[in-house]
């Protein structure tokens, strides 16, 4: 294994091995000292996250697909156009979108080893994520007050399952972000691994954002087209 790592290490200085070792890929820069790298010279933790996010595509793809399969098939209860509020959802959508920017800046600062700024951006990301979850709690309770429950109709079942799982993902992300920020405050993070760890956390966070980009457009905005 150490041989493979050595090759990956060399890949940056000797042009001959460059292409095999992921040469020319920006994100590979900080990783050459990691012992967890595999024979590709890529960090396993990042490979694992991308593989996980691939499976998450299938997960959310099925939930959104099911929502569309049963769209307009409800027999009673409030319908989407009766209860969706484009203003409130636009605000929460914008917050989540901007949280992706602060996340990207946190990753950038982690790579630059500006750990103070990194922590600030991580906390800003967590705050926006928490606000998004707050908006979702408000939205759900508003919908329930209007008579839409999980068992009311096909709309209720598919909508709450889909957006509920997304909200759960955001919540997990917020907990993750806050924990990393706390560990950074206490100086308990391994300074050599912090960049890759924050980057992988960022991948998860951005994924949660892109799922919402799809849900916001195809579930919410679609109801307001004439």
């Amino acid at each position: 294994m150490s041989e493979a790592v050595a090759i990956a290490h060399d890949g940056h200085s000797h042009d001959g091995h460059g292409h095999d070792a992921g040469h020319g890929h920006d994100a590979g820069h900080g990783h050459h000292q990691l012992t967890e790298n595999n024979f590709l010279g890529l960090p396993n933790i990042k490979l694992a996250m991308w593989a996980f996010l691939g499976s998450e595509c299938m997960f959310f793809g099925s939930l959104i697909g099911t929502y569309f399969f049963y769209r307009e098939m409800s027999l009673g209860g409030p319908m989407p156009e009766d209860i969706f509020d484009v203003n409130i959802t636009s605000i929460s959508t914008f917050l989540l979108l901007m949280s992706s920017v602060t996340m990207a800046l946190a990753v950038d600062n982690a790579r630059q080893r500006n750990f103070g700024k990194m922590r600030a951006f991580i906390l800003a990301t967590a705050a926006q994520g928490a606000a998004f979850v707050g908006f979702q709690i408000y939205e759900f309770s508003h919908f329930v007050a209007h008579g839409l429950k999980l068992s009311t109709s096909l709309f209720g079942s598919t909508f709450y399952t889909m957006t509920g799982f997304h909200g759960a993902h955001v919540s997990v992300g917020v907990i993750w972000l806050v924990m990393v920020a706390l560990l950074a405050t206490q100086g308990k993070l391994n300074k050599d691994k912090i960049a890759i760890n924050v980057e992988v956390m960022g991948l998860y966070w951005h994924f949660v954002d892109i799922v919402w980009i799809i849900i916001f457009t195809f579930v919410y905005l679609l109801e307001f087209t004439r």
């Binding site: 890929h25 490979l47 691939g54 399969f69 990207a104």
Partner: protein, 249 residues
């Protein structure tokens, strides 16, 4: 993109992408504003291209976040493969599900249930919402029952499967606290054809049983009543305990 040199073998810092990220953020903001704003333009909202247009914008935003923020565009092909192959699988399942929904769509759910889409399309059964029509006399009902029996109670069976089965179970055995067993000899509100028709049409106050005459035609209700009556005495396995009065014939 050029590489930092590794001369000292120590901590070379990669380039900062902060400016790039802020530009991407500005683009994302503008695109989202366009997406939402376009719905408030009465002249534009309603034209055929609005839905495909906001769809393309969403895909563009998706690509921007994945490609730039998640850094997949300049990153290693293995990451692209790991993420994008299941992503396309998900996309294809989504398209297949949507196509299936279009292909299998039938007004009234294939039975007599009125969905939101039926209402939007203007499909409404002749007397739906027109109030409850009084039951036919028993002899006329019996003749119609015999007629339905020849057809194997096909219409009523379909209604039962799409509507009644939700609370009375697929085989009519009943569900606790929802709907009683339809396959024993007991009826809470009478087992004659006219009584069954009335119970289905008017519902039962204070229970989970709705008044189906608001969404089903009298004929559909009659056919459902016939099928329910045909279940009497079948005593399916695992059915609920008898509630109500035993009806002899």
């Amino acid at each position: 993109m050029s590489h930092p040199t590794h001369a000292d073998g120590g901590h070379d810092l990669p380039h900062s992408h902060q400016k790039h990220y802020l530009i991407v953020a500005a683009v994302l903001t503008v695109v989202t504003a366009v997406e939402i704003g376009i719905l408030f333009l009465p002249a534009v909202n309603g034209t055929w291209w609005v839905v495909p247009f906001i769809g393309v914008l969403a895909v563009f935003k998706f690509g921007l976040v994945v490609g730039e923020f998640m850094h997949l565009r300049p990153d290693h092909g293995v990451y692209k493969f790991l993420f994008m192959s299941p992503m396309f699988l998900a996309l294809f399942s989504f398209i297949a599900l949507s196509a299936l929904a279009v292909v299998t769509y039938q007004p009234f759910g294939g039975g007599y249930a009125i969905t939101q889409r039926d209402r939007k399309a203007g499909f409404v059964p002749p007397s739906a919402g027109g109030g409850f029509e009084v039951a036919w006399p028993e002899d006329k009902l019996k003749a119609a029952f015999a007629e339905a029996e020849k057809g194997g109670f096909a219409k009523g069976k379909a209604t039962f499967a799409s509507t009644c089965a939700n609370c009375h179970r697929g085989d009519g055995g009943g569900m606790p606290a929802l709907g009683p067993n339809m396959t024993d000899d007991c009826f809470k509100h009478g087992g004659s054809l006219a009584e069954l028709y009335t119970t289905i049409g008017k519902g039962v106050q204070g229970t989970a049983m709705p008044a189906w005459s608001t969404s089903m035609s009298p004929d559909a209700i009659r056919q459902a009543a016939f099928f329910v009556r045909s279940l009497k005495g079948k005593n399916v396995a695992g059915g609920l305990e008898c509630v109500g009065t035993k009806v002899a014939d």
